[in-house]
């Protein structure tokens, strides 16, 4: 294996990691502030991608499409929070799991109903369709680098929002004591809706950006959702820092495992066996990682609170 391949895969891992962070930060915020476990988070990812794909075709501008996608995901989040989610804050986790599972069915089948089962195509904007040279001679698509940059900017923005604004202060206060900030006169219902819509917008952004790399289709949010759960469980549910670290860890381990494990097994197995075992093990790798971490730290690496 060459250095070029390694660099390329490291960047791929970073790209997966930043996208996972966009998903996981919303999930972990919602859990941290409202104590809600939201399986329907992947639906906002899908909404973002669909609206971006449709708006890009009708306006001809990917940027406008992206803005529309993010806004639509935020709006969907706010509506879902107002109609369903706010009835669940005081319920058991089991009820939350089932109600949000029901939301997945409604979103997925509703989308299939409206747009059919065949995927929509969304391509990256012309200006970003080129590639740049990597050290070692191979070329890497600009768009993927831009995705990483967007992810880093959003992560920084999220940090600023939470650490240095009034809204962020309320979010942090909400994480440490929900009743108290209500008693101090903060409109807690509006805060909850805002946080939920913010999380949905981040998921929508991830969906829109990744939608241009892969196809936009029903169910696209589910694999990402489960990865994002692994991320927040590893990081410690409720912790943004944990989500960032967990996202990078999962992104790297998953990407590198898929490339290098089959090669590693090839050292001492026949090529066909190595491919089979390596691929199977690589697909399980992040779950093994999660199980090992939880076996030693049952509340994740940076647990905020249960």
């Amino acid at each position: 294996m060459s250095v070029t391949l390694l660099i390329e895969q490291l960047i791929n891992g970073l790209q997966l990691g930043t996208m996972l962070f966009l998903m996981a930060s919303g999930l972990t915020l919602v859990f941290g502030v409202m104590g809600l476990i939201n399986l329907a988070h992947g639906s906002f990812y899908m909404v973002g991608a669909y609206v971006t794909a449709l708006a890009t075709v009708s306006t001809g501008s990917f940027l406008l499409g992206l803005v529309a996608g993010v806004l639509a995901a935020a709006a969907a989040g706010a509506i879902v929070e107002l109609l369903v989610i706010r009835r669940l804050y005081h319920r058991q986790h089991l009820d939350q799991v089932l109600a949000t599972f029901a939301l997945i069915l409604i979103f997925s089948e509703g989308t299939r109903w409206l747009f059919g089962s065949s995927p929509l195509w969304l391509s990256p904007p012309e200006a970003l369709s080129g590639s740049v040279a990597l050290p070692g001679g191979s070329r890497y698509p600009v768009y993927r680098l831009v995705i990483i940059a967007v992810g880093v900017v959003v992560a920084a923005g999220l940090y600023l929002l939470i650490a240095h604004t009034r809204l962020g202060m309320r979010i942090r206060a909400g994480e440490s004591d929900r009743e108290m900030i209500g008693a101090l006169g903060v409109n807690i219902r509006r805060l909850y809706t805002l946080v939920f819509a913010l999380g949905a917008a981040l998921a929508g952004l991830a969906g829109s950006l990744v939608g241009a790399l892969q196809s936009v289709q029903v169910g696209m949010g589910e694999p990402v959702l489960i990865l994002a759960f692994v991320v927040i469980v590893i990081g410690g549910i409720g912790s943004i820092k944990g989500a960032l670290l967990g996202a990078l860890l999962v992104g790297m381990v998953d990407t590198l495992g898929r490339v290098f494990l089959p090669a590693l097994f090839g050292q001492f197995m026949s090529p066909s066996d190595a491919a089979g075992t390596g691929t199977a093990l690589a697909a399980m790798l992040i779950y093994i990682l999660m199980a090992v971490i939880l076996a030693f730290k049952p509340k994740g690496l940076f647990a905020a609170h249960d």
Binding site: D95, A99, F101, A291
Partner: protein, 342 residues
């Protein structure tokens, strides 16, 4: 399939009488009778499709009986019971595969004898659940939900990318496995096997919950500290319940693969874990007959709504949302009254 009518009579309210004519006993009896007689009637009318549908109901109900032991009685919200359902299915598939071509699997010959398959499925599911439970039960709350989901996903991706047994295409079972003295290819006979397994699993749950073990499990769910004060450690109690729960679901999976003549990674998918949970909740959490009521309702919705529209899961979502938000007792709570000592 016969439509289900709640056989409730006004004079049989639970508070008035403690006889066998209580409303809940009537409802339970009617559920079992419908479950048994509807496919017999379908068989007499030559409607094989409905006999097989009833087998499906019985097996899905049995898988949910297993899950109900963990969720309802044990308070362990497992989001990964598809792992055991699928493992049971794969035991059937792999055993039949090796019996068919006469090759060995890990030094053992395959078998097409259901008894051997069931034993292997129950043992393997028990072992898997012992390992998963030992790690997962160290965590609580959301972490438990997520880690059980993660383990099931692990099994899913493993089956998906392991090429020897079909990978993501799944593994067909060319000939239904056999049981000495019974023609398993006859739809009604196969249904009766499934029905017997379902009833036995419910009887086991009932027996278990009336024993000292059941009392300890209930207390582990309600008040862990109080159980520990009584000198009983909650962890082993939960772990044993989790293992038995997985064994029941696994046996249902083993039969399910034989019913369909096919096993694929979709039996391990998180959607299936979710659907089993939905059945438990629809029926009524922690109620002995809840899974049966839930499974009947679920498969009926799937068949009736699925016949009307391809997008039936949209409506399933709406119904489920309604049940979770407004009707916490589930179907059994609605039909048979509030929970009592069952």
């Amino acid at each position: 399939m016969t439509r289900l009518h709640p056989a409730t009579t006004p004079e049989a309210s639970p508070s008035e009488s403690r006889s066998w004519l209580e409303r809940r006993h009537l409802v339970h009896g009617v559920l079992l009778a419908v479950m048994l007689l509807a496919p017999v009637a379908a068989h007499l009318m030559g409607e094989i499709y409905y006999v097989n549908l009833a087998s499906r109901v019985a097996l899905v109900a049995m898988a949910a009986v297993g899950l109900n032991l963990a969720i309802g009685y044990g308070g362990m919200i497992s989001f990964g019971h598809a792992a055991y359902f699928g493992l049971g299915g794969y035991v059937t598939g792999i055993s039949a595969f090796h019996a068919f071509d006469g090759s060995l699997v890990m030094g053992l010959p395959g078998s097409d004898n259901m008894l051997a398959i069931w034993l292997a499925a129950v043992l393997l599911c028990g072992l898997l659940a012992l390992a998963i439970g030992a790690i997962s039960l160290r965590t609580t709350g959301v972490y438990f939900i997520m880690i059980t989901l993660a383990f099931a996903q692990m099994a899913y991706y493993f089956a998906n990318s392991w090429p020897d047994y079909g990978g993501q295409d799944g593994l067909p079972i060319y000939l239904r496995n056999t049981l000495p003295g019974i023609d398993t290819n006859d739809a009604l006979s196969f249904f009766l096997i499934c029905f017997t397994a379902l009833v036995l699993s419910m009887a086991l749950t009932s027996r278990l919950m009336r024993s000292r073990f059941g009392a300890a499990l209930t207390m582990a769910r309600l008040n862990e500290t109080r159980l520990a004060t009584a000198g009983i450690s909650p962890f082993p109690i939960r772990l044993v319940a989790f293992v038995i729960s997985a064994m029941i679901t696994g046996l249902a999976g083993a039969l399910y693969a034989d019913l369909n003549g096919f096993v694929s990674p979709s039996m391990l998918s998180w959607h299936l874990s979710g659907e089993l949970m939905v059945i438990v909740i629809l029926g009524g959490v922690g109620r002995l007959y809840g899974p049966l009521a839930g499974a009947i309702l679920f498969v009926m919705m799937e068949t009736l709504l699925g016949g009307l529209t391809e997008y039936w899961q949209f409506f399933l979502g709406l119904v489920l949302l309604g049940v979770v938000l407004f009707a916490k007792q589930g179907v059994i709570g609605w039909l048979a009254g509030r929970q009592q000592h069952e």
